[in-house]
């Protein structure tokens, strides 16, 4: 895997005017993505993830700032960028009255592929995304999961070296979601495709991305591996139970942490190593739990809010 930079953004900013009020959707985004990386953009709805993605994919001109994507400037040479990237948006990419295979052929033509090449590639994608039996079906009649797989196929027709996915698993059941990610990971393993994905699903970012960018209120507030984010920003929580409050207080005096009633909790790094030692040292322990942090704890540590509550309550995304 080569390590040259495939996305560079400097000071990328987008403001919208909504009913005479200026809304800063994205503020001063600086970003470098290396070829072959799998990067997840994590944040609540309305954090500015999609707007950032839409600027990087030339769908939306930035208010200020610059970005180079696959060697082409998004403002000066949008066509150069478009030729080299794949984009799978939040909606359904295929036309509702089109047939599955027809859309793939049209998409191939849009990307300058010859008829034979487009047909071969379309059949290959239909096969690998389990869409072959649906080739002559109308898009209108497909299930949500089938439509999403077709979106992926359309995004991949020209074998792009960089693939953007905007909330790819929204609206999918857990099984389709796992299946979708399997395809994304296969793609990366087989072709070294650089993958840039936005998501508000913590588990996805946690499981699949090696690098997580956290975005909130239009600003990028963290950029690291999921593991590092969790160690530096959240830490493991060990909770020990005791027979009495006195035992808990005595244990707190020896081991640190905060005693509450007959239990004691400690926030530590590498809880899995600390817990056995504590159990050896403190003979009065009656129960023990270790909770390793999730990216939600990271988000909580960064913003003071839980991403879960946020995702549930705030549905406002600026449409542009």
């Amino acid at each position: 895997m080569t390590t040259d930079t495939i996305i560079t953004a400097r000071g990328l900013t987008k403001t919208f005017t909504v009913r005479k009020a200026v809304v800063e959707a994205v503020t001063d985004l600086d970003l470098d993505v290396q070829r072959g990386e799998l990067v997840a953009f994590l944040g609540p709805n309305g954090a500015g993830k999609s707007t950032s993605l839409r600027m990087l994919t030339t769908l939306l001109p930035p208010t200020s700032g610059t970005a180079t994507v696959v060697g082409h400037d998004i403002a000066r040479d949008p066509a150069g960028v478009r030729r080299r990237i794949g984009y799978i948006g939040q909606g359904t990419s295929a036309g509702h009255n089109q047939r599955v295979r027809d859309e793939l052929l049209s998409q191939g033509a849009f990307y300058g592929m010859g008829r034979r090449a487009a047909a071969t590639r379309a059949d290959e994608l239909l096969e690998s995304l389990d869409l072959a039996p649906l080739a002559t079906r109308k898009v209108l009649g497909l299930s949500g999961g089938q439509k999403r797989r077709l979106d992926i196929a359309l995004g991949l027709i020209h074998s792009p070296e960089l693939l953007f996915l905007d909330e790819p698993s929204t609206g999918l059941d857990p099984q389709s979601r796992a299946n979708l990610w399997q395809h994304i990971l296969d793609l990366r393993r087989e072709h070294g495709t650089t993958i840039f994905v936005t998501t508000h699903f913590l588990e996805e970012a946690d499981l699949f991305a090696e690098r997580v960018l956290v975005m909130d209120h239009g600003r990028m507030i963290a950029d690291d591996t999921a593991g590092n984010l969790k160690t530096t920003l959240a830490g493991d929580v060990i909770t020990l139970g005791f027979a009495s409050e006195a035992d808990a207080r005595a244990a707190a005096a020896r081991a640190g942490g905060t005693a509450a009633g007959s239990s004691l909790s400690l926030t530590v790094d590498h809880g899995e190593l600390v817990l056995p030692r504590l159990l050896r040292e403190l003979d009065s322990v009656t129960s023990a739990t270790l909770r390793q942090p999730t990216l939600d704890d990271v988000f909580l540590a960064l913003t003071g809010r839980s991403l879960r509550e946020d995702a549930a309550t705030s549905k406002e995304e600026i449409n542009a």
Binding site: L59, Y87, G89, S93, H96, Q98, E103, F110, G112
Partner: protein, 251 residues
């Protein structure tokens, strides 16, 4: 082929695929003109006091323009739907020129119109409608040109109302019927009040209807035909330039 030509061709091909896959959809959309022919036609014959054949001679060309008017007037809704679902966005990320996205779609409008108008013209022949074959061929070209321009305007309206689709349907309903009535398509405007005749003189569709009547009756060399083509051509130029601008602005 230059990029724009290739792009336009590719967009046109994509738009035509569902029509070719499902040619019967063209027949089903003939319900409205057939209703007018079957239910409005006899009324017209009865009130005009003329023989059926003479009435048909002026009524059928009007129905052909009606097919083009209503077929292309609603076509923007397809684009509206594709903007809402995300498939339009997909084409915006693809390396195709913005103007091709509009021109390819507008060009596609010509195909169903010509097929449908041809069917209706042939269907009415047994009822006494006499058609000049060369006039019919030229008439179809005129309809196609008109449909190209009016379709482009419908797409422009869709692009302009992409954030509130009620606007599309509101404006569409508010314009189609006045345009239809003020073109003399169904009822001739000779006995209409003065203000209606003035309004009709500013309606490009009046000229297309008049030219269509002249062409189908075999009056090929008349100035009415020339004015019909001029009106359709002006409409096409306006429609395409407004549409291309709307497409570039919306993207």
């Amino acid at each position: 082929m230059s990029t724009i030509t290739t792009d336009t061709w590719n967009v046109l091909t994509r738009e035509l695929r569902p029509v070719l896959r499902d040619p019967f959809s063209l027949i089903f959309s003939l319900v409205q003109p057939l209703v007018f022919l079957g239910l409005f036609g006899p009324l017209l014959v009865a009130t005009s006091g003329q023989p059926a054949a003479a009435t048909l001679q002026s009524f059928v060309p009007g129905i052909l323009v009606m097919i083009a008017l209503f077929g292309t007037g609603t076509t923007g809704s397809n684009l509206l739907y594709e903007m809402q679902t995300g498939s339009h966005e997909r084409t915006l990320v693809a390396p195709i020129s913005r103007s091709s996205l509009l021109v390819g779609r507008a060009l596609k409008e010509m195909v169903p119109i010509m097929v449908q108008a041809c069917i209706i013209a042939l269907v009415t022949i047994p009822f006494g409608f006499s058609v000049n074959p060369i006039g019919l061929a030229l008439g179809l070209v005129l309809l196609a040109l008109f449909g190209l321009g009016f379709g482009a305007l419908s797409y422009s309206l869709a692009l302009a109302s992409r954030n509130n689709d009620w606007m599309f349907w509101g404006i569409q309903q508010a314009t189609l019927f006045p345009l239809m009535i003020l073109s003399g398509m169904l009822l001739p405007l000779e006995h209409a009040p003065q203000w209606m005749q003035v309004a009709a003189a500013f309606n490009p569709i009046s000229y297309v209807v008049a030219a269509e009547r002249a062409l189908l009756s075999g009056d090929l060399a008349s100035m009415t035909v020339v004015w019909g083509f001029v009106a359709a051509a002006v409409l096409a130029v306006i429609g395409l330039s407004v549409g291309i601008r709307a497409m570039k602005k919306a993207a």
